[in-house]
C-alpha cells in the first residue's frame, strides 16, 4: 500500500498481542518500527524477531503514563530509526489481579487512575510528543486503539470503557488540530480478540459466544486487525480523519 515503505512507526504495547501484530504488519510493508512496551524483555524479543526478517526495528521500554519515560523512549526511537511518521497508541489494560472480580463501585481510586493514565493519558502524551514534528514535515498518521466494549459495555469495566471512549474524543479533537498539516488521526475499534493474554484471561467459550454475535461468525484474531491499521497508516486514507473503524466481523455497527 502506498505511503508505507520507508516510513518509521512507533507502536506502544507492542511487546506482544495486538501491538506486536501491528509492528510485524507494518514491518512487512517496509516500515521501520519502534516496539515500545512496559515490559522491556517482550519489546526486545519482538524487535529482534522483526529485525531477523530484514526489517529495521528497535525495542523500547517505557511506562506510557510517565511523561519523562515516554519522552526518553521517543528520543531513543528517533536516535535509532531517524524519526517517527506513524504512531499507534495500542498500550492498554482493563484490570489487574487486585481489581479482577470487583464491582465498579468497589474500585479503589488508584486503580481507576492507573487504567485512565495508561489507556488515555498515555495516548495523549505520546501524541503530544510526536505530532508537532509530523506537522512540521507535513505528513503523519496516528491510530488510537479503542474497543468495541464502548458499544457493548460491561458494568465492571467502567474505567476501561471510559478510557476507550475517551480515546474516541481524543481522536476527534486532535484530528481537527492537525488536519491542515498532512496528519490524520483515527480510531481502530477491535472486538474481543483472542491474543495470548486474552486467552489466559477468558475461557474458550467466551470467544465462541462472541463469535456467534458476529455477521462473520468466528473468533477474532490479531491478524484480523492488521489490514485496517495498514490502511489508516497509508496514503489510501489521506482524506479520512477523526473516524472510528470497527473491526469485529460485524457485531457492533457505528
Amino acid at each position: 500500500m502506498e505511503g508505507l515503505a520507508g516510513r518509521t512507526a512507533l507502536v506502544t504495547g507492542a511487546g506482544r498481542g495486538l501491538g506486536a501484530a501491528f509492528a510485524r504488519g507494518l514491518a512487512a510493508y517496509g516500515v521501520s518500527v519502534g516496539v515500545l512496551d512496559i515490559d522491556g524483555d517482550t519489546a526486545t524479543a519482538t524487535a529482534n524477531e522483526i529485525s531477523d526478517t530484514g526489517a529495521r526495528a528497535v525495542g523500547l521500554i517505557a511506562d506510557i503514563s510517565d511523561r519523562s519515560a515516554v519522552l526518553e523512549a521517543i528520543t531513543g526511537c528517533e536516535d535509532a530509526l531517524g524519526r517517527i511518521d506513524i504512531l499507534i497508541n495500542n498500550a492498554g489494560f482493563g484490570t489487574t489481579k487486585e481489581t479482577a472480580g470487583l464491582e465498579w463501585h468497589e474500585w479503589p481510586e488508584d486503580a481507576w487512575d492507573a487504567v485512565i493514565d495508561c489507556n488515555l493519558k498515555g495516548a495523549f502524551l505520546a501524541c503530544q510528543a510526536v505530532a508537532p514534528k509530523m506537522m512540521e514535515r507535513g505528513w503523519g498518521r496516528i491510530v488510537n486503539v479503542s474497543s468495541a466494549t464502548v458499544w457493548h459495555p460491561l458494568a465492571n469495566g467502567a474505567a476501561y470503557i471510559a478510557s476507550k471512549a475517551g480515546l474516541i474524543g481524543l481522536t476527534r479533537s486532535l484530528a481537527t488540530g492537525v488536519g491542515e498539516h498532512g496528519v490524520t488521526v483515527n480510531t481502530l475499534v477491535p472486538g474481543l480478540t483472542k491474543t495470548d493474554h486474552m486467552a489466559d484471561l477468558y475461557p474458550d467459550e467466551q470467544f465462541e459466544s462472541f463469535a456467534q454475535l458476529r455477521a462473520i461468525p468466528r473468533v477474532e484474531l490479531p491478524a484480523d486487525l492488521v489490514g485496517t491499521a495498514l490502511f489508516l497508516c497509508s496514503d489510501a486514507s489521506a482524506f479520512v480523519t477523526g473516524q472510528s473503524f470497527v473491526v469485529d466481523g460485524g457485531h457492533v455497527f457505528d
Partner: protein, 265 residues
C-alpha cells in the same frame, strides 16, 4: 497559483497488484464522475468491470475510455430503479465478463427542493435510484457471490445522513436507509463470505454538485473540515478499494465517513 483548497489529490488504491485478477466488478452510476474512478482502481488490480448507467451513451463513453487504457471494461444501460432492467443488464454482464464478485452501488440521484414542494413522483424517483436500486442490484448479484463463498458489496451513502441538510429531505431519507440496508445485508451475508459496507462521502466537487450549488457552498464545507480543501472523486478511491481488499476481510456492516474530518459520526 492554485488556491490550496482547490488542490486535487492523487487517487491511491489500497489494493495490491493483481489482487482482483479473475474477479468481476459491477459499478452502478458507472457513467458519472466518481463511478469511473472506482472502476479504474478496480481494473488496475485485475478486475473486469461492468459499468451500468441509466444513460447508455455515458456508460459506453466511460467504458471506452478505460478500454483504451488497456482495461477490461464494458458499459450497460439500466435504470437501477427497475428490477427487470437490472436483471437484464446483470445477466448480460455475467455472460460477457463472468459472475459479479464485487458490487459498487454508486448510482444516485438528488434534487434540492423545499420539503412541501416534493411530489410523490419526485420522492419515488429519488427513492428508486438511491435505495431500491441498491436493494435489487444486490439481490440479483448475491447468488453468484454465495456460490463462490466470496463477495464484496459497497453501498454509497452520504454524510447528509449525519448532517441532515434541510434542502433535500427525500435524498437524506434514502441515503440514511442505505446505512440500514448495509447493516442488515452484512448480518444476512457474513456467513457466506460476503462483506457489505457503506462509504459516506462529504460534498464532492463534481459537475452535478457544482450545478446544484454555488462554489461558496463547497468552500463552506472545506472550511469546516479538519483537512480544509474541496473533496474530489480521487479522495474516495482509497477507502472504496480498502473495502474491496483483503485488508477489510473482517470488516462488515460499517459506514466510513470520508469527508476530511468534518462529521465524526
Amino acid at each position: 497559483m492554485t488556491d490550496p483548497k482547490h488542490i486535487k489529490p492523487k487517487a491511491v488504491s489500497a489494493l495490491s497488484t493483481g489482487e482482483l485478477e479473475g474477479k468481476t466488478a459491477l459499478v452502478t452510476g458507472g457513467g458519472g464522475v466518481i463511478g469511473p474512478a472506482y472502476a479504474r482502481a478496480l481494473a488496475e488490480s485485475g478486475a473486469a468491470v461492468a459499468l451500468v448507467d441509466i444513460d447508455a451513451g455515458k456508460a459506453q463513453r466511460a467504458a471506452k475510455k478505460l478500454c483504451l487504457d488497456g482495461f477490461k471494461v464494458q458499459g450497460w444501460q439500466a435504470d437501477v430503479g427497475v428490477k427487470a432492467d437490472i436483471e437484464a443488464a446483470v445477466l448480460d454482464a455475467q455472460n460477457v465478463l463472468g459472475g459479479i464478485d464485487i458490487l459498487i452501488n454508486n448510482a444516485g440521484y438528488a434534487t434540492t427542493m423545499d420539503f412541501e414542494d416534493i411530489s410523490e413522483a419526485e420522492f419515488d424517483k429519488v427513492l428508486n435510484a438511491n435505495l431500491k436500486g441498491a436493494f435489487f442490484v444486490s439481490q440479483v448479484c448475491v447468488p453468484h457471490m454465495k456460490e463462490k463463498g466470496w463477495g464484496r458489496i459497497v453501498n454509497l451513502t452520504s454524510t447528509v445522513s449525519k448532517i441532515g441538510p434541510g434542502d433535500l429531505p427525500h435524498y437524506v431519507a434514502t441515503k440514511t436507509g442505505v446505512i440500514g440496508l448495509t447493516r442488515s445485508l452484512a448480518r444476512a451475508l457474513g456467513k457466506h463470505g460476503i462483506t457489505v459496507n457503506a462509504l459516506a462521502p462529504g460534498m464532492v466537487a463534481t459537475e452535478p454538485i457544482i450545478a446544484l450549488y454555488p462554489e461558496s457552498a463547497l468552500d463552506n464545507h472545506a472550511a469546516r473540515r479538519s483537512i480544509k480543501r474541496w473533496e474530489h472523486a480521487e479522495d474516495l478511491v482509497g477507502p472504496l478499494t480498502y473495502y474491496c481488499s483483503k485488508h477489510a476481510d473482517f470488516v462488515t456492516g460499517q459506514t466510513m465517513l470520508v469527508d476530511g474530518g468534518q462529521q465524526f459520526d
